[in-house]
């Protein structure tokens, strides 16, 4: 990974689980790097998760890579809902995923401090041109709110289920 640029990102998602609906809101940290491909496809923009650290995503542009990153994050949250028997299990799994750290945390802090001190501006012009900046001392944040609980289908109500969680996509009309 060439010198990546440190970013904060925000993400909010409603996730259905077994008998519950949860609203997840996070302010996370990630690194973005522009990396050369070994084919003729041009550079790739790569988002590397920092908090949460357990994912990455790639695209042909900054927006497309971020869209892929968010879809990946959504897919992971949906997978955690698949595995959870109840809201408490889901909450613990999301917290564990979000709070895991790896060596990219140190790199993120170092790059942010370089940008603060002026010894290293964002490497990429697209990132450098982003007008909104947030002090890197701001902590990542995660909230997981239970919105609907213990809904039973035999009451005639809608029953939340992980099977209702679907990622975005498109298909050819024919």
């Amino acid at each position: 990974m060439n010198s990546p640029d440190p970013l904060f990102f925000s993400h909010r998602e409603s996730v259905e689980g077994n008998g519950f609906v949860a609203a997840i809101s996070m302010r996370g940290r990630c690194l973005v790097a522009r990396e050369q491909r070994d084919d003729d496809a041009g550079d790739a923009w790569v988002f590397y998760g920092v908090q949460p650290c357990g994912l990455s995503a790639e695209g042909d542009s900054l927006p497309s890579a971020f869209a892929e990153f968010r879809e990946s994050l959504k897919d992971i949250l949906f997978g955690l809902a698949d595995d959870a028997q109840n809201f408490d299990q889901f909450r613990l799994a999301v917290e564990a995923f979000f709070n895991q750290a790896d060596s990219d945390t140190d790199l993120w802090l170092r790059r942010a401090e370089e940008i603060r001190s002026g010894s290293g501006e964002p490497v990429d012009q697209t990132v450098s041109s982003l007008s909104q900046r947030l002090l890197h001392e701001n902590k990542p944040a995660l909230s997981i709110d239970l919105k609907i609980a213990n809904v039973l289908a035999d009451d005639g109500n809608y029953e939340p289920s992980p099977s209702n969680n679907v990622t975005s996509g498109f298909r050819v009309a024919a």
């Binding site: 084919d39 650290c53 357990g54 990455s56 790639e58 790896d102």
Partner: protein, 83 residues
């Protein structure tokens, strides 16, 4: 350093067998949940409704190696000359 853009999933498992013996993996939606020594990484294996691929992005494998704490070994074995 130049890497191939994609790595065959079978090769990823070979590398992990060498670098992260005892690792586990299971499928969850469009991801493989890879776990080793208490660390978890969500390795992409599809793309949100598009056809599943047998190839994994090299950048995803490198990031996985950092999260699992086995970067030096994995990156060394991702070199084309490494067999």
């Amino acid at each position: 350093m130049s890497f191939a853009r994609f790595i065959a999933i079978s090769r990823v498992w070979e590398i992990l067998n060498f670098c992260a013996p005892g690792y586990t993996q299971r499928r969850s939606r469009d991801k493989y949940v890879v776990q080793f020594q208490g660390h978890t990484y969500m390795l992409g294996c599809g793309s949100h409704g598009k056809a599943e691929t047998k190839d994994i992005r090299a950048s995803d494998v490198r990031k996985m190696s950092r999260t699992l704490g086995v970067e030096e070994c994995v990156v060394g074995r991702m070199q084309p000359s490494s067999t």
